[in-house]
Every structure is written in C-alpha cells, then in structure tokens.
Symmetry: C2
C-alpha cells in the first residue's frame, strides 16, 4: 500500500524572510491530491540544523511519508543531507554513483569541494534521479529529499509520486453569491451526513456583493455527487 | 521590547489540498522582515482541532509570538477561535462589542446563528479591528488570530505590526553567472566572519548558463555593506 498521508518540509531562510514565495509545497499539494495522498502538514523552517532535525523527526514519526524541499546544493547554507543523516542516526557518505557521474560530467579536476559536497547522502539512502540535474535527491526510510530549485523539485517529485496514494481525490466547486452566514447552518447539516466528503466554504467579494465558493472533495465520486446535489438544493431553497 | 521571533500558523484544508496557493504567510514574511522580527517557522495544518491545538501550543511556547491565519468565519469548518480557547484553557465567550456592532450593522434579525458564531472569542482576548470587516480578529497571550481572506488578513496584520520587531532587516543581492560550486568555498569563508549577516545562495538558470543570486541580510547596515564588498571582491577574483 502506498503512502496515505504525507507532510512537506520546506527548508530555506529565503521563504521565511519573505524573499521568495514558496512554490514547491504548492505544487506538491496539487500532485498529492491528484494521487490520493492526504497532505496533512506543511512546515517551513530555516537553514539551521536543530530546527531541521527536530521538525523532520516529528513529521516522519507522525505521517506515512515526508517530502523535503531545499538545502541540497553545494554552498554553506545547504545542510539538509547532513541533518537528515543525523535525524536517522546514520553517517553521511560520498555515494559512488554520484561521484562517478560527476567525474564523467565535469572531468576529474571539475570535481571541486562544492561539487564533492553534493555527492554526499545519508548512508543507506537510495537516489532520486531526474533529467533536470546530475545531482540526485535521496530517499531514506519514509523521507524523500528533493531539491529546492522549482524545476528540479518538480522533476524529482514526478519520479517519486508512484509511492504516494492509491485512490485519487476529486473536487467540485459551487459559486455562491450569498453571505456565508446565510448557508452556514445548512452546510453544517450536510457535512454531518458525510464523513467521506470534505466540505469547505471560501468567502470572497465581487465589489460590494459576496461571491464565495463552496468546495467539496472526496475519494468517492458517487458520494461527492450526492453531497454536491444536497448542497445545490440547499442553496436553491434559500 | 517588541516580539523578536514569530511563527505563522496557517489553518486551512484549501492550502493542503492544493486548491489555494498560500498568500498570507508570504505577505507576513515580507512585513515581519521589514519590521525586524525574525519569522522562524511557518506551519500549515488542516481544519482539525487536534492539529490546530497541538501546533498552536508548540509554536506559542517556542517563539515570542504566533500569528494565525484562517478559520474564523461563520461556517462549520471555521474552528480556530474555539481551538485557541481550548489551547489556552479558557472559555469561548460572545464578545459584547462584536454583538453590538453586528446588531447595529445587520439589524437584530440579521444576527443569525452563523454571524453569532463570529461574535465568539477566547475569554480574555482583545479585539483586532480593521476597516475591511465588521468581524474582528483577536489577540490573547502571544497569539494573534487573523482572518484567512487575504485582504482582511492584510488589513488586520497592519493593525498588529507595531508589536513586532525593533530593528528592521535589510537585504542586498548580487547576481552571479557562475555555478555555485565555483564560489561555495569563498562564500563559506566570508559567512564564518559574520554572525550578524545571513548569506544565502540561490541558483537559477538562464538557458544553459547558470545565473543565480547571492542574498545577504542583516539588521546592521554597516556590516551588510562590509560583507557585500567581501563577496563582490571574492567573486571578481574568480
């Protein structure tokens, strides 16, 4: 059985300082939904080993799997691989396959200290390879270690999604030009009838008028359609 | 002294399911940087009381302050106020000021059950008012409870920022058309000389060429300029 629940751990000062708008968790959230794996938590932490290790350990013991994003490059602020090795209590090793691939690509003299850093993975990890880069991600236990650069993250994510979810989630939305308080009681009553359909209400405004959306999602298309009909009928009755 | 560290707790299935791209933590990250408050963690959790309460308690005991986003509307999936009351071990009360304001705005008959839900705050909380909405956020202990709708969140955030930070952070960036591994060692050596300047490297690509950015930030403009000069000189020497 594939992973049914997951967390995403984003590692990077650039997100916490407001420099960079987070994009990888946003992509992974959409892909996991389509796979049928419930994304249960997103955590963003700085490039600090204590924060990375304690958060990683909490998440990997709470959810079926953890996907990390960022901190696997060659510079001093890239400390994800060593932190995850520490979290698992294993060493950090230069992986023969990566050393060989990098030597072929850059030549023996091109394998400088920075690139050498990128050959290191937690002992026992398997590699996550993709077409976008010669430096792979890694997979150890229930943790998938991916790059932070968005196009590399996306490519590595595609390479691991077969481990996630079995029954895809489906989503239906209804636009509604009523204040939420008008239909809140009716919606709550319908939600109580469905423990297999998640119903959310997301208000918005079009000028002075309210115009929100009611969003229903489920792994069971028949139940989704039934709940959708009840919500539509309830709204029409108001 | 104002809050020096903060966490943001985003509450909402819509972010975890990939329906909605997170926007409020991204805005708050930028504003807190400008205020000089270090955003140390972002957590996104679902609309489930256990997840909200345990995460809120962890964050409020770890950082100077916590800003929450979402879950304070009138529908069944809006459970933030009751969860935060539970986390603090206090009751949830109908706040006289909100009841009165809503009664004036909607009329006595307009104060239906949904709107009545929005008059409730944790006992002892102060209100966070803004021009965007009649339903306020709330402030209890070191926790600031804000709405999830982005324009309301932004307006409520502006109303509380005076509690955050004392010395603004500053940022400088250098564009660099070299592979990170070329300057990784030099950059690490400079970082070692500055515990008051944070140096990050963010690779990118322009077609086949590398073209990343080195980003420096600090609360001390003089130190920032000094580090910037050392990095520029180091890059020029390559």
């Amino acid at each position: 059985m594939n992973h049914q629940t997951a967390a995403i751990l984003v590692i990077g000062n650039e997100v916490l300082s407001g420099r960079t708008r987070e994009a990888n968790a946003w992509l992974a959230a959409q892909k996991l939904f389509d796979c049928g794996c419930k994304l249960s938590e997103i955590a963003v932490v700085p490039d600090q080993s204590q924060a990375i290790i304690s958060t990683l350990n909490r998440l990997r013991h709470t959810y079926d799997a953890v996907i990390t994003s960022g901190g696997i490059g060659p510079t001093h602020d890239d400390i994800t691989m060593e932190c995850i090795a520490d979290a698992f209590g294993v060493g950090l090793i230069e992986h023969n396959f990566i050393v060989q691939a990098m030597t072929e690509f850059y030549g023996k003299e091109g394998l400088n200290d920075g690139r050498r850093r990128m050959t290191r993975v937690p002992d026992g990890a398997r590699l996550i390879r993709c077409a976008q880069t010669i430096a792979p991600g890694a997979h150890i236990g229930n943790v998938y270690i991916l790059a932070g650069v968005p196009d590399i993250f996306a490519s590595q994510l595609d390479a691991i999604l077969h481990d996630f979810g079995d029954m895809p989630f489906h989503r239906q939305e209804i636009e509604v030009e009523l204040a939420e308080s008008r239909f809140a009681a009716g919606l709550a009553a319908i939600q109580l009838q469905f423990n297999d359909v998640e119903i959310g209400s997301y208000p918005g405004r079009c000028g002075p008028k309210p115009c929100g959306k009611i969003c229903l999602s489920s792994q069971h298309p028949d139940r989704l359609q039934l709940a959708l009909k009840l919500v539509s009928d309830m709204l029409a009755s108001l």
